[in-house]
Symmetry: C2
Subunit: 269 residues, 2 copies
Amino acid sequence: MVERRRITGFSNPTVKFMRALREKKHRRRERRFLAEGLRLLTDARENGQFPELLAMATGREPHPLLDALEDAVLAAGGEVVEMEPDILAKVTGKDNPQSVAGVFLEPATELDAIAREAAPIWLVAQALRDPGNLGTMLRTGDAVGAGGLILIDDCADPFSVEAVRASMGAIFTQRIATARWEEFLPWLRQGPGQLVAASLRDPTDYRTADYEAPCFLMVGNESQGLPEAYEAACDLRVRIPMLGRADSLNAAIAGAVLAYAALAKMPTS
Amino acid sequence: MVERRRITGFSNPTVKFMRALREKKHRRRERRFLAEGLRLLTDARENGQFPELLAMATGREPHPLLDALEDAVLAAGGEVVEMEPDILAKVTGKDNPQSVAGVFLEPATELDAIAREAAPIWLVAQALRDPGNLGTMLRTGDAVGAGGLILIDDCADPFSVEAVRASMGAIFTQRIATARWEEFLPWLRQGPGQLVAASLRDPTDYRTADYEAPCFLMVGNESQGLPEAYEAACDLRVRIPMLGRADSLNAAIAGAVLAYAALAKMPTS
C-alpha cells in the first residue's frame, strides 16, 4: 500500500486550487475543471480519461471502483491525495460530501477539433444559459450517438461543476466546441453538414423530415429562442407540435425531441 | 385610478406571508403558492386563474398586460398591493426583482380530480426530486396536449417557486395529482388507462409501439429509475435507443421523448 499525501488544513494550496476551479475565471486561467463523485470519475476512467489530481476522503468505505480509479490515476502519472471529509466537502461545495473529486485538463474546444464526419448527429446550442440544460444536452447527445455539442455565442460554461454533473459522464464522451455564430457558419459551410432547427414558421413535420448526416441540430436561448437570422440560415426547419398554450419547449427537451427524430432517419439506426 | 395599499416595511405581515410561501411547510399549511413575473401571471390570467393577492413594484414601467392583470384580479375579488422594489425582491428571492408576484390557491391534487378521459396523454413521475425537472415535465405536458402530471411517491413540490417557474405557465393548465403507488395503481385499474414506461428489458421500439389513450407515461427517480415492480405493472414497456455509454436519459427528457412518440400515435395528432 503506497502512502498518500494527506491534507489536513483548509488553507492548503491544493485545497485552494481545487476550490478555485468552482469559479469560471479560475477554470479559464488554469484550463482545468473539477469532476466529483465515484460514478462520474469511473465514467471518465472507462473512457480513458484520468484526473491529474485525485482527492479522496480519509475514512472512506473501501470500494473496488475507488481502487481501480486510484491505480489508473497513478499509472497515468497523476497524483492522489487524501483529505479529511470536511475539507473535501469544502472543495466539492456539498453538504453531503462525495468521497472523491478529480482535476481534469480541459480538452480543446476549437471548431477544428470537431471531426464532423465522425458522427451522424451533432447538437448545437445558441446562448444556452442554464448549466443544467447544457449538461442534459451532453447526456442526450451521448444517448443518441452524437459526436458532441457546439456552443454558439455566450453559453453557460460546459466545464462548470453543475454542467459536468448534469452530463452524467457525457462530458468525457462528447466533443465540445465553442464559437461565435460568425465563425460557426463559415466553418459549417466548408464541408458537409445539414443545419436544422425547430421553427414555428415552417410546416415540415419533425418526424418525417429528411435529416441527413452529418446533421447539426440547433436550439436557441432559453428565453429568446434562436435569432431569426440563425433560423433563416438553416438548411431545414421543422415543426414540433405544440398543442398547448405555450409556444416553446425547454431548450434541452427540444434538442432531445429533434435528436431522436433525426436518429430514426439515420442509416445506422 | 384606484388607490392601492402600499407596503413600505420588510416586517409587514403581507410581506412575511408571501415570503413564507417560498417554503414547503408554509405552502402546505396555507394551501397557497407563489408565482412571479408578468409573463407567468399573464399565462394564469389567460387561463382564467387569478391570484388572491397581487403585489406590484412601485416605480414600475407601465405595461398594458400589468393593467389587464390588475383589472382581472380586482374583478375577481382579489387584492392588489404595491411594494418598494427591494421589498418585492425579498419576496421573490431574486436579485433582479420581477415587477410583479401573486399568491394563488393550490388546486386539489387528489387522484379523483383527474378526469382520465379528458386527455389522450397523462404524464406520471415517480419520486422525481428535482423541481426544475418537474416544472419541465409540466411544460412538456402542455405542449403535447396532456391532461396533467401525476406525482407518485415522494416527489419535489410542484408548487415550489422553482417548479412553477420551470413550468412556464403550465402549472396553470395541467392538472396535478399526488399519490402513493399503492393508491395510484388501484385507481388506474378502475377505468381505462394504459400504463407505459421506458425499459431496457424490453425490445419494443418506442416509436412504433401501440400507445392507446388514455395513455399514462411514467418516468422514475433521477438516480434510481423506476422500481422493478412498477415497471412490471406496466401494460407496455418500450425501448428508447441508448447508443452511448450511459444507460439512461434525464427523467424529463425521457418523458418528453415518450410523450412525443405517443402523441404521434393518437387519433387527434
